[in-house]
Each structure stands twice: as structure tokens, then as C-alpha cells.
């Protein structure tokens, strides 16, 4: 089983140097479900990264699509002698390839927005917590303001403003999500800040920047990482919803959400595969991320540990 082998690689060595990372890996590996999630997620990630080499067709290249091969059922061989294992949509787009490329977009949107939002949010949150006072009040009022507003509405507005496009979706999601990181970072940093090692660092006259980023930040990472995994999943779902509502990525370069949305209109006409398979892919992805994130939360949450 994967779990045991990972444990034996990282955690099992007695007397070996026990770094926090190894300890963490060992604890993580204790949950089979989470390891399964990670394995699935890695596979999905690999598929997404190598989609251009793996996919039988480039679904974004209009010249490669043939409308005459449109709406083929799964495992039909089209006019060009090519077999569409998951069928095609009305444009003659091979669903298998479209899902691979769609994963790529969805994951990019999810991870890209999470990373950017992380950087922006964590920095502001740490700064707010460390300096307190007016800085804190200003940043946190803004965070409150934003959190008090449903993400989907903010995203809708922003996208309506910026127009479609993958980067715009990422931007919109960053604008929507940074506040979560800021709040989490601040909360964690406030706890950490009251720990005596921060005072010790101040006592040692270390520069403020060093205290914030070398001492505080690493200790605030666990909750941030948990938030990040959760936010990747929710960003992917949000992007799907936005695409469903008609704002989101361009039609010619569909994400999973857009594929589902396209296929949604065919559900009643019996052409289930256009929406079904992308739906399954989306589901598996989000569930895998959540499984990992969920367990990460258990492992990284110090309160549950002691």
C-alpha cells in the first residue's frame, strides 16, 4: 500500500534526523484516503501538464476540429478515421482531449489564483498583525468589507468589468480570495506574535523584515497552506460556476466548467457525454484536492494534535 511505503521512506527511520517536514509527511501518510487523494491529484496534475503531448487532438486549434464529426457518441470512429473514446461535442471536439486541456485551464486558474492570492493576502495579513494599530485597522476593515460580500457577486462584477479570458478569471479570483489569506495570516500571526520567540527576536534587535518573514511567516504557514488547498478547490468550482453563468474563459478554450456548461444544454437531448465526463473530471479533481486539504488541516492543526 502506498501509505505504508511512504511512511517507511520518510518517517520510519528510528534515530534518523526528525525534521518537521518528515514528521509531517509521516503523519500525512497515516490517512489512506488522503494519500489516495494525493496520488489522484498528482495524476491529474501530470495529465494537465502534459496534455499537449498526451491528448490525441488539440481541442483549442479550430483547424483540427471537424464539425462533421460533431456529436459523436463515445467510442465512435469519426470521418477522419479517428476514434473518439469519450465522444465529441457539437464542434467535433474530442471530449477526451478537451477534458485534458480543460483540466489544464481549471488547474491553472485554481493554482494560479491561489498562489497570487496567497502572496498578496499573506503579506498584508502579516503586516497587519505585526504592526497593528492603524495599519491593521485599515487592512482589516478592507478585508471585512470584502469578506462581507459574496465572492460570486464580486467575481461576476469583476469579470463583467474585465471581460473574459483566463488571466482575467485568475485576476478576479485573486481579488475575491486574497482576503481569506489575509484574515488567516493575520489570525495566525497574532497568535504567533504573542509567542515569546518573537519577543526574543526583538530582544536580539533583529530587523523587522527578518522577524516578519523569517520568523513569523514560516510559523503561520500551516493554516495558510490549508486555506490554500481549500481555495484551489473553491477557485476551480467558482471558475466553473462563472463559466456556467456565461462569464469566464473563452469558449474556444474551454475549462472543465465551460465544458459542463456547454454540455448542460445537451443533457435533455440525451447527449449526456458532453457534460457528464467533464463533470466527473471536475468532481474527481475537486474531491481529490479537498481530501488532501482536509487531511492537511488535521495534520497541520496544532490544536487537534496536542
Amino acid at each position: 500500500m502506498a501509505a505504508t511505503s511512504i511512511r517507511s521512506i520518510f518517517g520510519g527511520r528510528k534515530g534518523g534526523e526528525q525534521t518537521p517536514f518528515r514528521r509531517f509527511v509521516a503523519e500525512f501518510a497515516a490517512s489512506k484516503l488522503a494519500v489516495l487523494g494525493l496520488v489522484v491529484l498528482s495524476m491529474i496534475g501530470l495529465i494537465a501538464i502534459f496534455a499537449p503531448w498526451l491528448a490525441p487532438q488539440n481541442p483549442y486549434d479550430l483547424a483540427q476540429l471537424d464539425i462533421m464529426d460533431g456529436m459523436l457518441e463515445p467510442a465512435t470512429t469519426g470521418g477522419s478515421g479517428f476514434t473518439y473514446w469519450l465522444g465529441t461535442d457539437e464542434q467535433g471536439r474530442d471530449m477526451l482531449s478537451a477534458i485534458m486541456y480543460g483540466l489544464r485551464i481549471s488547474l491553472f486558474v485554481g493554482a494560479g489564483s491561489a498562489v497570487l492570492a496567497f502572496v498578496v493576502g499573506a503579506t498584508l495579513g502579516l503586516v497587519a498583525a505585526y504592526f497593528g494599530g492603524k495599519t491593521d485597522a485599515l487592512i482589516m476593515r478592507w478585508v471585512d468589507l470584502q469578506l462581507s460580500f459574496p465572492s460570486i457577486l464580486v467575481a461576476l462584477l469583476i469579470l463583467a468589468l474585465l471581460g473574459r479570458g483566463v488571466m482575467n478569471v485568475v485576476m478576479a479570483l485573486v481579488i475575491v480570495e486574497w482576503a481569506y489569506y489575509a484574515r488567516t495570516a493575520r489570525a495566525a500571526a497574532l497568535v504567533e506574535r504573542s509567542r515569546e520567540y518573537v519577543e526574543a527576536a526583538q530582544c536580539l534587535a533583529l530587523p523587522t523584515r527578518r522577524i516578519v518573514f523569517r520568523h513569523l511567516l514560516p510559523n503561520c504557514l500551516p493554516p495558510l497552506i490549508v486555506i490554500a488547498t481549500m481555495q484551489v478547490a473553491s477557485a476551480i468550482a467558482l471558475e466553473a460556476t462563472l463559466s456556467f453563468l456565461g462569464l469566464g474563459v473563452p469558449v474556444t478554450e474551454p475549462s472543465l466548467g465551460l465544458l459542463i456548461s456547454n454540455g448542460y444544454q445537451y443533457m435533455l437531448s440525451g447527449n449526456y457525454w458532453i457534460s457528464f465526463y467533464p463533470g466527473v473530471a471536475l468532481l474527481v479533481t475537486i474531491v481529490a484536492i479537498n481530501l488532501v486539504g482536509d487531511h492537511l488541516r488535521d495534520v497541520l492543526n496544532p490544536r487537534l494534535k496536542s
Binding site: 460580500f149 460556476t241 453563468l245 448542460y264
Partner: protein
């Protein structure tokens, strides 16, 4: 207490002001309503007339100031599409959305707390594992997708439930409600479930996490040491403690539920505010969008305040004003 309320109201006012500016500018930048609303066959003259009549010829800041001064008189503008006060338009549709959102929230509590309680008390049992796995699923499924599947299953294939719309309503307090009629309830079932799914998962998780934490606390152990019956420990000592965070979070989320009703209402043709806002965005019915967003901000402010108040009632440790 009074100073606390005053403080909150002042803050809320400030938030509303800032939001109104952002919202106004944001909606302004999306597009020109005249471009889409007016028939292109209109002559330039007709077009200009329409623009002037709607006050769209003025510079943005001027429009904003007009908007603000109207706002002070409680006027949020008239809908371009329906030519009635935007506020009225929204308020007409609000009960339908609130009905949905509140029903979903209640469902989440009613279904989520017992499940979470069980999962927390018997963490090792297979039933608990399935509850938790199910809750991850509930977290993960995009709500529009669930909506489609529900319709496919319960309306089209099984024919048990009506696919969309609000069904029969009955009037109570001068407002039409679905939950008062059998047909209305049947129509509510799927949208409510759709909207509640995420909440149920969240409540399960919050409850479970709460139980796991509280059950280890000294005061639960002390309650045992006092010789209390297990039922009293669970339903008084543990439950009362976890209800506080659960109700707080669920309460704060009510706003998000209302916002996500946009999706549910679209799928189930539920005649609420959410559907109105999507249509309004599509057709750039600016006053309605702005009014809706302002109303949402107001609603959030009120919900936050209420949640704080409830929180302070539930949790004796919190006393307002002494924070």
C-alpha cells in the same frame, strides 16, 4: 451597549458609502446600458434623447452624486427594463429568495448538526467515515451541476418533483410564500436541497470538529466526574458549546447563501432576486444592479450585527461593548 450599536451603525454607514462608490463605478465601467437596451434602429436623435432621459449623459461623478442624493431620499433609481423603482422590484422578489435561503439554512442545521454530532462522538465508526466522505462531496460539487442532476433525476426521470418555478403560494403578512402550500413545498424541495448542500457539509464539519474539541475539554471530563448522565453531557454540555460557533458561522453564511441563490434560482427558475440580478447584469439594468448590491451590503451588515447579537446571547463570555 448603546455605544456599541452606535459604533456598528456608523461603521455600517461607512461601509455602505464605500461600497456604493465601488459598485457604482464598477457597474458604470461594465458597459453602456443604452447600447444594449435601445433598438439600434433608433435614430441618433432618439438615442440621445433616451440617454438624456436616463441621466446617462452626465459625467460619472455627477451621476454618482445624483445617485447619492437620491439615495438619501430612499430612492435607488428606476429599473430601465421595468420602469419601476429598482428597490420595489427587488423587494418584490426578496421574499422568494429569503424563503429559499432560510429554508436551506434551517435544513443545513437540522440535517447537519445530528450528523456532525454522531461523527464527532463515534469518530471511528464506518458510518462516521461515510458521513465525512459525504461531506467532502457536498463541499466539492459545484452547485449548478448538482442542480442539473437533481432536475434530471427527480423531475425528468422519476417525475416526483416539479422541475422549476415556485408553485402555488399563499399570502401571509401580505407576502406570498411557497412553504404554506403543499405544491409550494414540492417546488421548494430541490432548490432548497441544492442550496443547502454546501451548508450541510459545512455544518457537519463544524459540528464534528467542535465535538472533537469539546469532548476533550476539562469541563466535559468534570461533568463526567460529577456523575452526570451521558445524554445530559452530550445534549447540554457539548451541544450548547458547539452551537455557538455553528450558529455563528451559519448565520454569517446566510449572506453567501443568498448570493449563491443566483445560481440555484437560475437553474430552477425561482423568481427571486438572484435571477433578477443575473438578468439585470445581462441587460445592464444599472439601477437594479446597484440597488441589489447596495441591498446586499445592507443585508450583510444587518446579518453580521444580528449574528453578533445572537452570539453574545449564546455565549455569556462575550459582552458587547466590552470587547
Amino acid at each position: 451597549m448603546v455605544s456599541y450599536l452606535l459604533n456598528r451603525i456608523l461603521q455600517a454607514g461607512l461601509v455602505m458609502l464605500v461600497m456604493s462608490a465601488i459598485v457604482f463605478l464598477g457597474v458604470f465601467a461594465i458597459g453602456n446600458p443604452v447600447d444594449i437596451l435601445i433598438s439600434p434602429q433608433a435614430t441618433a436623435l432618439q438615442r440621445e434623447e433616451a440617454i438624456r432621459a436616463l441621466g446617462l449623459d452626465l459625467p460619472v461623478w455627477h451621476q454618482y452624486l445624483n445617485f447619492l442624493s437620491n439615495l438619501l431620499h430612499g430612492d435607488l433609481g428606476r429599473s430601465f427594463v421595468f420602469n419601476v423603482p429598482a428597490l420595489q422590484l427587488i423587494l418584490e422578489r426578496m421574499p422568494a429568495t429569503l424563503e429559499l435561503a432560510i429554508a436551506a439554512t434551517l435544513l443545513a442545521l437540522v440535517a447537519g448538526i445530528p450528523l456532525g454530532l454522531y461523527a464527532g462522538l463515534a469518530p471511528k465508526s464506518p458510518v462516521s467515515s461515510s458521513i465525512m466522505a459525504g461531506s467532502i462531496l457536498g463541499f466539492s460539487l459545484p452547485s449548478f451541476w448538482v442542480g442539473i442532476v437533481l432536475i434530471m433525476l427527480f423531475s425528468v426521470h422519476l417525475g416526483w418533483l416539479p422541475s422549476s418555478g415556485r408553485g402555488d403560494t399563499a399570502v401571509w403578512l401580505g407576502v406570498r410564500w411557497s412553504f404554506l402550500t403543499v405544491d409550494g413545498l414540492a417546488h421548494m424541495a430541490m432548490p432548497v436541497l441544492n442550496l443547502a448542500l454546501f451548508q450541510i457539509s459545512m455544518v457537519i464539519r463544524l459540528t464534528r470538529a467542535g465535538v472533537r474539541e469539546v469532548i476533550l475539554s476539562d469541563y466535559v471530563k468534570f461533568a463526567r466526574a460529577k456523575g452526570l448522565r451521558e445524554s445530559r453531557i452530550i445534549f447540554v454540555h457539548i451541544l450548547k458549546n458547539i452551537l455557538i460557533p455553528v450558529i455563528t458561522v451559519v448565520g454569517l453564511n446566510l449572506g453567501t447563501v443568498i448570493a449563491f441563490a443566483v445560481v440555484t434560482e437560475t437553474i430552477f427558475s425561482w423568481p427571486g432576486m438572484g435571477k433578477l440580478i443575473i438578468d439585470s447584469i445581462n441587460i445592464l439594468d444599472r439601477p437594479v444592479i446597484v440597488a441589489y448590491l447596495m441591498l446586499m451590503v445592507l443585508m450583510f451588515v444587518i446579518i453580521n450585527l444580528l449574528v453578533d447579537l445572537i452570539y453574545s446571547v449564546l455565549d455569556p463570555r462575550v459582552r458587547l461593548g466590552a470587547r
